[in-house]
Subunit: 372 residues, 2 copies
């Protein structure tokens, strides 16, 4: 599989939903496969909250396979022998795209909290501009799970004429109160850490590692189902017998601590604040008096595939159904699959044969319809 | 309603499940109603994680009604015209009973982390010894929700001959991996706060308020159902429009922050560590190779009422059913009611007519059976 990547510098300032403007925006991307001569075989894969552009291959930092390596590659559902798959780091992120840890060109110092609040719409605008720099005017498909699915819906809302197909996995058209609440716990954990320094920790040469680890631990529980946690860990102990103290007695405690510690090695605390905020703010229906269908009015020629998972309690099937009802009401051709899985929200990242089959079938028929 | 209260000093050292011994243990209690001449009309009400002995009346610190004032009083389900209702603060707590904030009699200084890890069984032993100091050899009933329900099950296991009836609401016979995981997030949030000082914050004249607030915020989400949060807050904003920053934009954020702030005013961080640990360690079936029924073998003459709530995802109905199956297998007479409520775990603290009716009916028939 041919791979490539780099940093795209956007040719114009990015006008933000907040009314602000970001200058000199850079978007880090990776590509897998080969762009065909008429530039018609591109698929953009949008990543989740803490994902990045390393969709397939080996991640340069962790040394592990990219987050969707099971799905993107030769002969896989996103077949790189046929498609040119692009992953890009969202703006606000910390894997090479402009975010709060970047230097503000106006001051030469890290933005920190002077970075403007960005939205899912801003992320998608930056992606569209990045694609223009690559000479790609139209995508065959845009695909993503979780926050990536929000970007997919936003693509269908803002740039329906630039996509033939859209795949939204384990996602929602807006955050519920519970979604916002869990994110707020994470933000408060970060901001409670004295090493956060009001967001200016880079200048101080410190990092709010403990707060960020607690944020990750709380969030991680929401990514897994209760049955999966129980099956995997139950009440199994780390050692023979209890410690009668506050060490990690139970395997699930040790696992969570590890998740927290590993996360701070690869993620920036301010980026976590900004990206969680973007997902909390996302609400496709808000501008239409709560009628999400109106957000998809121009998207009726896009073919949609919406996939949810039975034990996903972060973005439950009921939220996917809301999206599907809106798409149906807008007259868009929509496939909807609820995959029976006990793996919770993270199922979209894992080996789920029904998801794989649904995605493969959908892309084949969408490609045929698009005469590709 | 006649009320009373005080501090019971246990007449003997408390031998702990860990093998340790606590000397000079004090248990703070409140009473509601009048003990009859033959001392046969006592009901012990066991509190949840962050509850206390102020079951009814007005709480002296918060100035608000006691946590079960809707249920305990003249003419209420726990009718104080008939019953002598006792609430006591668990050991390990921070409302007057011996806990990690108490002075260690051996050193004259606060225990902090030198306080021994205590268990639900230790809490119940202390309650039984407290009742002996009051001349109460037998309870008509022991009643409790959440962690209070664990104490009820432990009473039935350890002292079945001292109780006629047992009411276990919104509880479980053991913590699942998810329960432990959420508690571990809270503990890590506290221990991440530099003002925790390895548990020795009292000597330093500080308190890990930020960490404790984050712990409470995370836990509070688990006490409410997703539908209740959505109905109560949805995506409603605090002000007109978004702040485009990290202030509390959404009402649910403001609500959570308030829950965190109010909690640190009334609760001790080390007590939170110890009490969450006690609930994580609780596992009635562990000593019997996983067969919970064997833990209730001596309790077949106790009448049980087990109540769960449809949207309680902290201690879901499936966990109550496990308890009920064990009680049935042990041959104990058991009523089980799953109350249809959208209020989540906290439903047991709220006005739930079906719960009230079930409890009233159960106590009446249990009193008749006990010839009271």
């Amino acid at each position: 599989m041919q791979t490539g990547g780099g940093i795209a510098r956007l040719p114009a300032p990015l006008r933000l939903e907040s009314g602000g403007v970001l200058h000199g925006v850079e978007v880090a991307y990776q590509t897998y496969g080969t762009l065909n001569p008429d530039r018609s075989n591109a698929i953009l894969v949008c990543h989740a909250l803490t994902g990045d552009q390393y969709v397939s291959g080996i991640h340069p930092v962790s040394g592990k396979p990219g987050w969707w390596a099971k799905m993107v590659g030769p002969g896989l559902p996103l077949d790189t022998d046929r498609w040119f798959v692009i992953g890009s780091n969202v703006i606000g992120g910390c894997m090479g795209s402009t975010g709060p840890a970047s230097d503000d060109p106006a001051t030469g110092k890290p933005y920190g909290l002077s970075f403007p609040v960005i939205t899912i719409a801003d992320m998608v605008c930056a992606q569209a501009m990045m694609l223009e720099t690559m000479g790609i005017e139209r995508l065959f498909a845009v695909v993503g799970g979780s926050m990536g699915g929000m970007q997919v819906l936003q693509w269908a809302h803002a740039f329906p004429e630039r996509i033939s197909a859209a795949v939204c996995l384990a996602s929602a058209g807006r955050h519920t109160a519970q979604n916002i609440a869990f994110h707020e716990v994470g933000r408060q954990a970060i901001m409670a850490d004295p090493d956060w320094r009001g967001g200016a920790y880079q200048a101080a040469g410190v990092r709010p590692e403990k707060g960020l680890a607690v944020a990750r631990m709380a969030a991680h529980i929401t990514y897994l189902s209760e049955p999966a946690l129980q099956r995997k860990f139950g009440r199994e102990l780390q050692r023979d017998g209890l410690s009668w103290g506050f060490d990690a007695d139970f395997q699930v405690e040790s696992y969570l601590r590890h998740q927290g510690a590993a996360f701070v090695d690869r993620f920036d605390a301010n980026a976590y604040l900004y990206i969680t905020r973007a997902t909390d703010y996302f609400d496709l229906a808000a501008a239409y008096g709560g009628q999400m269908a109106k957000a998809f009015e121009r998207a009726r020629d896009v073919r949609f595939c919406v996939i949810s998972f039975t034990t996903d309690w972060l973005y439950p099937t009921s939220e996917s159904r809301r999206v599907v009802r809106a798409l149906n009401a807008a007259g868009a051709r929509t496939s909807f699959v609820e995959v029976d899985s006990d793996k919770g929200h993270d199922a979209f990242l894992l080996d789920e044969p029904v998801m794989t089959a649904a995605l493969t079938g959908f892309l084949a028929s969408a490609a045929e319809a698009a005469q590709l």
